[in-house]
Symmetry: C2
Subunit: 403 residues, 2 copies
């Protein structure tokens, strides 16, 4: 009778959960009618979980406070954090050493698991909220990849009017998630569909198709590498990441793009194809696009770890990086309509120095590009929502310029 | 550096997780490369979770074994269950009294939370697996409902060829989830899209659109009812469920159907509209369709709790039930092309007796209907996959009969 219990909880919310009080309200990222976690206007978060027999419970915001929770008489543990910056914040709770999700939160795939999160609203920011404007649709598609030998799942955003404008064809942005996340991240965490809806309604961005693919790939028939003796950050680990990036590159160029161009009303020339990604997805974006300028003309790295794929990470040499694609700045500028780099100003030193170094190296080499730092945000989704909001309006403008 | 850790885990699976051995293999419902939970050919499940400081950890299959787990020297807890029947089984782990999800499993919304699950394959059953046949697409849509005053999210399956056959119009099945689940359940747990793909490819079912809506609804401006003193199963709880069913009925008929018919290439007459649902969704289906035979002509109740909405639950009186719609069997038979009831033979007594009683009452009243018991399955998704597999081919056949 689990479902009856569930309905009873829905109906009798204040039996299953304590009442909300005062300035705190349930987070928008909660499951239906869950009263915790709660947030207040200052951005503080109150988390409350039931663990009657535990001896120690900790709250673990991945890019934020890691604090002990206090046991209450009713078997629940609770804590209120310091204020968090606006945005989407992953967290877990650690119950007697077990790192688990909070049942009150929706589950979001990050850190290679379904984690909890709270959304702290950014005052005045409506660009990533659903608005009363025409909405695109997000489609789930499955394509078979000869590269991996598997069926692969992707999400595809189609702009408003796609169905009704029979003769229209659209440019395509391939938009990748970060390491530990998956193809659902840009919609569920990033709200990319609402960002595009709002930009398109305001005529700030061209109507475009956005393809969000699964970023992990292993070649057909290949076993997982034995990395039991591989040290973190070692050349062997780097090789493993390069192998996966190369397999993903083949999947995108040999399986995904042909499938998308066959399935949707796309413009199939390089001028109408862009790729961007966050973090690991940024690394993959540079790898795929710079090896395939025959296919791509717009490139975005959102907190993208460009340097990680070169043996001398962080030292950008335009003569040799990415097979010398940057060596002739004028030629590069003619082929690449937009090269976009960004990072959050509160990100860790490794990201800040790596991406700033890439930016400075590009400047020194005379490579035209856009560089944006998101003020106050960490290696988190608010940085990447802002990145998409800045990046998307710059795409496919050459179409207008030529007409 | 959470994302780097995540990648390291992906690459070095046997560092983060113990190696698979012998007859056990990771469940298909696991997150990428998670080695646990594991299953064997007998249907046994081995669950393994890290909880180094816990004193008691239990494994809790909602419709299956509830067993203590054993602590190992490495801080993990493990247990192997008895064999489970094939299908999709929700579970949680209880760590020192905290009921939480297993990080090794994907998260599926059920029991009003994101829960864990294992898929036990059914030998020889391919009807709910992805096959090399044309695939439909599943679209996410958002519609604004004046009934609830909110934006509501729904999933819509469109059959293969929908985009390319510009002039085709399709019949529509509205397909509802159960209590504690949501609009994602029929795709993620039920695999309804693959069931339809395979049926359509085999020409066993008509190409149709399937709409999966969010089954909870509260009227615009209405606060959650204060049910703090309401006893489980009491008349007041029944009233709460009736109120929600009535609100959902208005949302379906006044907001959802007009949105779907405006947005997609549907056939909009009652002969081409069906509704079915599982458990609570079955209850809602009877409520919506029997009050709106002007809109619906095909009805399916999968373990559907029909009687719950009548004051004398389980005692079916065709003269009075659902405002007397069954009183004239011949007239009912002319209007309703398919009335389908089913239940799993291993379901609890309440469901078995309620649905069998409904079936017998319909027989006694001379109401033509289909009644199917799924052998050996409980109040679980395998029962409902089988129900859809049996139900969908019966839909919209009158179209052929008349041409």
């Amino acid at each position: 009778m689990k479902w009856l219990t569930a309905i009873a909880c829905v109906l009798a919310a204040n039996v299953c959960w304590a009442q909300a009080d005062g300035a705190f309200r349930p987070a928008s990222t909660n499951v239906w009618d869950a009263q915790y976690p709660r947030i207040d206007d200052a951005g503080r978060v109150q988390v409350r979980v039931k663990a009657p027999d535990a001896t120690k419970v900790k709250l673990n915001f991945w890019n934020g406070p890691k604090v002990d929770m206090q046991k209450q008489a009713d078997g629940f543990w609770s804590v209120i954090t310091e204020p968090l910056v606006p945005g989407f914040h992953y967290y877990t709770v650690v119950i007697d050493g077990a790192e688990v999700s909070d049942p009150g939160s929706q589950a979001f795939f990050g850190g290679s698991r379904y984690a909890s999160a709270v959304e702290i609203p950014e005052p005045g920011a409506t660009y990533y909220s659903i608005q009363d404007v025409p909405h695109g649709q997000v489609r789930e598609v499955w394509y078979h990849s000869k590269v991996t030998g598997t069926w692969r799942h992707a999400l595809v955003y189609l702009p408003p009017g796609y169905d009704t404008q029979a003769k229209a064809r659209y440019p395509v942005l391939y938009l990748q998630h970060g390491g530990g996340e998956d193809e659902t991240g840009w919609i569920r965490q990033g709200r990319a569909n609402f960002i595009l809806d709002n930009l398109i309604a305001a005529r700030e961005a061209e109507p475009m198709i956005v393809v969000m693919a699964y970023g992990y790939a292993r070649r057909a028939g290949e076993a997982p590498p034995d990395m039991s003796s591989v040290a973190f950050g070692s050349p062997a680990m780097l090789k493993g990441m390069l192998d996966m990036a190369a397999t993903f590159e083949d999947d995108v160029t040999q399986a995904l793009i042909p499938f998308i161009d066959k399935t949707f009303k796309t413009l199939t020339d390089r001028d109408n194809r862009a790729m961007a990604g966050l973090s690991m997805g940024g690394m993959q974006t540079f790898h795929v696009t710079l090896n395939h300028l025959d296919l791509f003309s717009h490139i975005g790295g959102f907190s993208g770890a460009a340097g990680l794929l070169s043996a001398d990470a962080g030292k950008f040499d335009p003569k040799t990086a990415y097979n010398g694609v940057f060596a002739d700045a004028a030629a590069f500028g003619k082929r690449v309509h937009v090269l976009w780099l960004g990072v959050g100003s509160a990100e860790g030193e490794r990201f800040l120095s790596g991406i700033r170094g890439f930016h400075e190296g590009l400047n020194a080499a005379g490579i035209k590009h856009v560089y944006v730092e998101s003020p106050g945000t960490d290696h988190e989704w608010q940085t990447w929502r802002r990145a998409l909001q800045d990046f998307a309006p710059r795409l496919f403008k050459h179409r207008k310029a030529r007409t």
